[in-house]
Symmetry: C2
């Protein structure tokens, strides 16, 4: 989504160091667009361009640079300029920047910040990647239960510039425990003399810092929330996660799952920006592992050397049979991985789904067997046709059940169910398919 | 996420027809939870339970039933009750219900509604599934540019109960063309005497009714919007899409893409609720199609019958080689499908990525070739080892390039790139792999 006119203006502004030209872009473009365009410049240029904007805008734009570029630009700034910038950034965004900095840079900027800011940054930066804590912010608005609606509104008006949202607020007690929630819409509609205590909703939906960010997103979506409060185990408020950060996290997770479904490791960059080495190193481990897995099908075939030598026609159906098993297994795995991710299916549903899959796998296999029976008859006579058809049914059932069960097994072993990728299931289906097919053939053809 | 206590209370309320017991659940549970629990009852029971709630709550709860159950419950209600319920539903939700009703039911309810409501429902229900129009709502708040901030606030307070959001409002002219946008936060912070014209933002992000719902979601996420205005081709406002509906659409799309990636058709139900027939019918078409595709690998093998008969050892490496090709191809396809879906990669990036993949595919293949060379040496001597290793490099390159290119080709043919599933790529890789492997073997072993 490059904007050619914006790019030209920024390039001109960089040459002329023209503040007003550069600042005028804010009238026509959103921060997101300008920030995205800035990311296309190299770090010294981006730093130069940023310095032409007023501080508040600079902080907003800076947040749209990719993390590694933020760190590079930060390294080029003077200590004071950087501290000023960081003070103006949103709490969750500056914590993300902090994580990107090296020890030296951290030591450089921390003294320039107020005590409360330092602690806030350290705290927010301390949560592990993927946890709810890692995407929460501390810029949320709180109210007291004995306030009147009018006072609450006045307070929110004062705090609005510094808060990530004032549309959803939280009523807390002295220990910062959440007592209730109230939306700005409810506040505006209430009588000015109504007490917050009587207005607030007490059926609070909250999560803890240790929860997965996926869970945060799911709760926000389920309850149509603008933000969800994050609490510690004594119900004290630690921060909030806003819907927009949850949406970003959801897209990130979906990308990760889509890549895992094809046995690709987590990329830190988008595919078009990722280097050769990044792409290679995220793809090769599973490929090599699966090569070793596939060696078992080779060993299986070696075991049946005699029957293959005597009935070469059997080989013709081998890719068809093991491929079909892999396909049906991949389908079952993809359905389960996604259902587990969205919460449609729980860990305890395995047995019920297994029984259902038994019937589905049989029916799929039987349908496909009809398709290959004719081919078998033509190529190898009735014996071969029968072997191929029966093998198809058994292989498809076997693979479907493996595909269905593997995500549950992984989830039980605390491994992301998405690891049950198409390639992994297909490799297992290959080994099983070879044994089933030639095992059956040996029995029928009597070798 | 079943709530056992809530379930018990509702069951008791159903037996005793106890209004106050049933209504009290609203103090402790969200609409989303109660609605979800109601969906577990059969339709006559759900209808009975709904009738125990006050009308406004009933409309909110009803919206959480799955579409087919909504239609069933609606069929059990009297014409007047149903019309009253529909009047109280949110504009986008009642349009979704309308789509589920048959002609007779539609004819029954329409006369009970006001003229404006009838037109609104018909209009919203007219947009095709998957379009921005199909998930937009007409319950949005508008302002006039000559109003003062104080008047705007007063107006919003009046309209709040009927609007899906008042946090984002739209300034329109007499022809309902969008002139600007303003948030409630900006309104609250502005001086009461400021004119809307001077407060509004004019860099409007909007979409058209024909845009994909995916595009709507992407814009909302990119610009961190609460809602996006949907306009016609003369910039007249037709509706808005709110972030929560966009989130739902995004999850739905991600599920659809995850299923497509394994060649499963779009399921209208979650996996645990889907019937045997639904699951069978969404999985079998691609499986059978791929069986026919895989027959080409059988035909390829038949062509090489003599060399196979003379060198049975070659067969041992067949699943390994074609499986590896399928795995590498699936990786490339998954990366491209997702990158095209998120917009990280555009249709025009194919040539650049193809060149990169050429090198990556070669490196992946070479690494895997090393792993299989030793095995080849042990099983079949230097000739076989060399054939297997070289075949691995070529097959992995071929499959990776197919996997990378197929999503672009499909996108060019206006087919969803996600159709380039793992199973489809693996089947093509199988056919190519058989030809490459035995073609190479024939040349080297001279048959």
């Amino acid at each position: 989504m490059s904007q050619p006119q914006l790019k030209l203006t920024l390039e001109q502004g960089l040459i002329d160091l023209d503040r007003s030209l550069v600042r005028a872009t804010l009238d026509d473009y959103h921060y997101a667009d300008i920030g995205e365009e800035l990311a296309e410049f190299n770090s010294p240029e981006a730093k130069q361009l940023l310095s032409l904007f007023a501080l508040a805008d600079r902080a907003s734009l800076f947040a749209y640079l990719p993390p590694h570029q933020q760190a590079q630009v930060a390294a080029l700034m003077s200590r004071n300029k950087l501290a000023a910038l960081i003070s103006r950034m949103e709490a969750d965004e500056r914590a993300d920047l902090y994580k990107e900095l090296d020890e030296e840079q951290r030591a450089m900027i921390l003294p320039g910040l107020a005590q409360a800011e330092r602690e806030d940054i350290r705290r927010l930066a301390s949560y592990p990647e993927g946890s709810a804590g890692s995407i929460m912010t501390s810029d949320y608005a709180t109210l007291k239960e004995h306030w009147l609606a009018s006072r609450a509104l006045k307070q929110l008006r004062l705090e609005a510039p510094d808060k990530e949202t004032i549309y959803q607020t939280y009523v807390i007690d002295r220990e910062r425990r959440v007592l209730g929630t109230i939306s700005l819409r409810e506040l505006i509609l209430a009588s000015p003399d109504a007490m917050i205590k009587d207005l607030m909703r007490t059926d609070i939906v909250s999560i803890t810092v240790e929860n997965d960010q996926e869970y945060a997103t799911e709760q926000i979506r389920h309850y149509d929330l603008l933000a969800i409060p994050v609490v510690d185990d004594t119900q004290r408020m630690m921060g909030i996660i806003t819907y927009d950060d949850a949406m970003d996290a959801a897209v990130e997770e979906a990308t990760e799952d889509a890549q895992k479904s094809a046995s690709v490791g987590k990329l830190d960059e988008s595919v078009d920006r990722a280097s050769f080495w990044q792409l290679y190193s995220k793809r090769i481990p599973w490929l090599v592992l699966l090569v070793f897995g596939a060696m078992f099908s080779g060993a299986g075939l070696a075991h049946f050397e005699d029957i293959i030598a005597n009935h070469v026609v059997l080989v013709f159906f081998l890719p068809l049979l093991i491929g079909s098993g892999g396909n049906a297994g991949s389908q079952a795995a993809a359905l389960m991985v996604r259902a587990l991710a969205t919460g449609d299916v729980g860990k305890g549903d395995w047995a019920k789904l297994f029984t259902k899959e038994l019937l589905i796998g049989f029916s799929l296999g039987a349908t496909m067997a009809i398709a290959v029976f004719a081919l078998g008859l033509w190529r190898g006579g009735i014996d071969v046709a029968a072997i191929v058809a029966v093998a198809m049914v058994i292989i498809v059932m076997f693979s479907s059940l493996i595909g269905l069960s593997l995500p549950f097994l992984l989830s039980k072993l605390k491994v992301d169910p998405a690891t049950a990728s198409g390639p992994l299931v297909a490799t297992i289906a290959d080994v099983g398919g070879v044994l089933i097919y030639f095992g059956l053939a040996s029995t029928v053809l009597g070798l």
